[in-house]
């Protein structure tokens, strides 16, 4: 057994231990379980919804659902697969809830809500000048992503921004790998059309 396999095996045992303890109501174990995955959950949410507040709402809703459902979690699937399935479900339903009241802010070309924007909360933007240069591109790409259907958008975010494999996305969304591929192809086609005039010529 290689060193990597050994450490994965130990990690798996530690996670099992945390799940069992959390199922029995141990809040410290539950928090440790949250901290193992919460950055990824927040990252998916941040890519999917439009504001930092929405991303935090999704994050909170996901872990509250996990907390409520954990006693009934039967470990038939990996904990991470189950968690990300909840994450995608919350994102998909959250979008439909917020759509009703975000049209006005989209018209104003603003992605802010309650004072600050998601782009301010995403790191790695580099120097101010670079950010100014790329802001136009970012806006167009984000609009193109927002033009996708909810499932296309979710598959696109999980693949392009989170780097999951197609089979992992299929497991998370309860879809066949063929369907995930089709969503990706359709999403890419749509993105090409949306961005053609501005950036792809």
């Amino acid at each position: 057994m290689s060193g990597k396999e050994q450490s994965e095996s130990l990690d798996e045992m530690l996670e099992m231990d945390l799940i069992l303890k959390a199922k029995r109501g141990d809040m410290t174990a539950f928090e440790q379980l949250v901290y193992r995955y919460d950055k990824q959950v927040l990252s998916i949410a941040a890519r999917y919804v439009q504001t930092a507040e929405d991303a935090k709402d999704v994050y909170q809703e996901v872990f509250l659902r996990v907390y409520r459902a954990l006693p009934k979690f039967q470990m038939k699937s990996q904990f991470s697969t189950w968690l990300f399935r909840i994450t995608t479900n919350v994102c998909l339903s959250h979008r439909s809830k917020t759509r009703r009241h975000t049209h006005a802010s989209l018209d104003q070309e603003s992605d802010t809500e309650r004072g600050y924007s998601l782009s301010e909360k995403l790191s790695g933007g580099g120097a101010t000048e670079q950010r100014a240069e790329s802001s136009d591109l970012a806006l167009h790409v984000q609009h193109a992503i927002d033009s996708l259907s909810p499932k296309q958008k979710m598959v696109f975010v999980l693949k392009y921004y989170q780097g999951y494999k197609i089979r992992e996305i299929a497991a998370m969304l309860h879809l066949s790998e063929g369907t995930v591929k089709r969503y990706l192809f359709d999403a890419t086609k749509r993105m090409r059309t949306e961005l053609k005039d501005t950036f792809l010529t």
Binding site: M1, Q6, S9, L10, E12, M13, M16, L20, M27, F30, E31, V34, Y35, D38, K39, L42, S43, A46, A52, A55, K56, Y59, Q60, F63, L64, Y67, R68, F73, Q74, M75, K76, S119, K121, L122, S123, G124, G125, S134, L137, A138, V141, Q142, K159, Y160, Y161, K165, I166, K181, L184, F185, T188, M191, R192, L195, F199, L200
Partner: protein, 322 residues
């Protein structure tokens, strides 16, 4: 393959979802096909544009805020749960004498109807209903019963009499104390036959946390735990079985199981746990027997894991000094 197939492969290539063989097939095709070459060029450009937008990851500040808000929400959630439990406890309806009488009457009526149904509804003679039929406290959910493998033995057209065998599986819902002998037998069986590793893990965990060491000595439970320790495909189940067996005295059966694990277990953490268990007699100032010393000597020389070798050497040397 059509051009559309190759175009799909180009997509998948940019998504890093192609095998080496598929990648080389695609590259070969791209060398000779200008149409697919144009497609590849456009997709490359699109990926560059999307890649430039990807920016970075979420900030620590956002994560910190989200965690803080989650902690508050969880506290409220727990408080809500506790309030419900308090309310249910306070609203103890059974303390009212009239309600108690009403409940008792209703219960008697249900039992009466049940008995009447069992006694007076004509039934077909069925032999060998299996062990589950004798479980006390178990409710069979007859609506979900599955009959399979039906085989006709004889059929008489004059009298209409038929004889056949079949297998019947009935889901059972059971409620009872884990200290109850029947419940223990069911759990021991589940540990050996259940397909779902989560259920097996929960079974070992329940046995380990709920039962005293004396009850774990029951032949069937001990046998199931040892078998789970040695052969369960899931490392979590094997580990939980080890933790439970560690509560028992190191008799011959348990000792042999531990030595088996030390020899054959692939997980080094499990082997270390076993060495720690085998060390207990040494720490208590007792003699360590030859079987154990032999396996420890073997492991200190051949185990692939440095720490396992070091621990085995340590315990072996301590055992030799006794």
């Amino acid at each position: 393959m059509t051009h559309q197939d190759y175009k799909d492969l180009i997509h998948l290539s940019f998504l890093q979802e192609l095998s080496e063989d598929e990648q080389s097939v695609l590259e070969e095709h791209l060398r000779d096909c200008p149409e697919c070459g144009v497609e590849a060029g456009e997709l490359k450009h699109l990926h560059e544009v999307i890649g430039r937008h990807s920016g970075g990851d979420i900030t620590d500040d956002l994560l910190f805020q989200a965690r803080r808000e989650l902690r508050v929400a969880l506290r409220l959630e727990r408080a809500k749960k506790t309030r419900w439990i308090d309310l249910l406890e306070r609203f103890n309806i059974m303390s009212y004498p009239t309600v108690r009488v009403a409940f008792a009457s209703a219960a008697m009526l249900v039992i009466g109807l049940g008995l009447g149904y069992l006694l007076f509804v004509p039934t077909t003679s069925v032999t060998s209903v299996g062990e589950a039929g004798s479980l006390q406290g178990a409710d069979s959910q007859s609506g979900a019963t599955k009959v399979s493998n039906l085989r006709f033995i004889s059929q008489q057209t004059e009298t209409g009499e038929v004889e056949f065998t079949f297998e019947m599986v009935t889901p059972i819902r059971m409620r009872g104390s884990v200290r109850d002998n029947v419940v223990q037998r069911v759990l021991a069986q589940a540990l050996l036959n259940e397909q779902n590793p989560g259920a097996r893990l929960q079974t070992v965990s329940t046995l380990g946390t709920q039962l005293q060491p004396a009850a774990l000595q029951d032949h069937e439970i001990k046998r199931s735990l040892i078998r789970a320790l040695k052969a369960d495909p899931n490392v979590g189940v094997r580990r939980e079985a080890l933790l439970t067996l560690q509560k028992l005295p190191l008799d011959e059966e348990v000792k042999q199981a531990f030595l088996y694990v030390l020899r054959h277990e692939t997980n080094p953490a499990m082997r270390i746990d076993v060495i720690n268990s085998l060390e207990k007699p040494v720490l208590a100032g007792k003699m360590i027997d030859k079987d154990i010393l032999d396996v420890l000597r073997e492991k200190m020389q051949t185990d692939e894991n440095n720490y396992v070798r070091a621990r085995a050497r340590n315990v072996y040397e301590e055992g030799q000094q006794r």
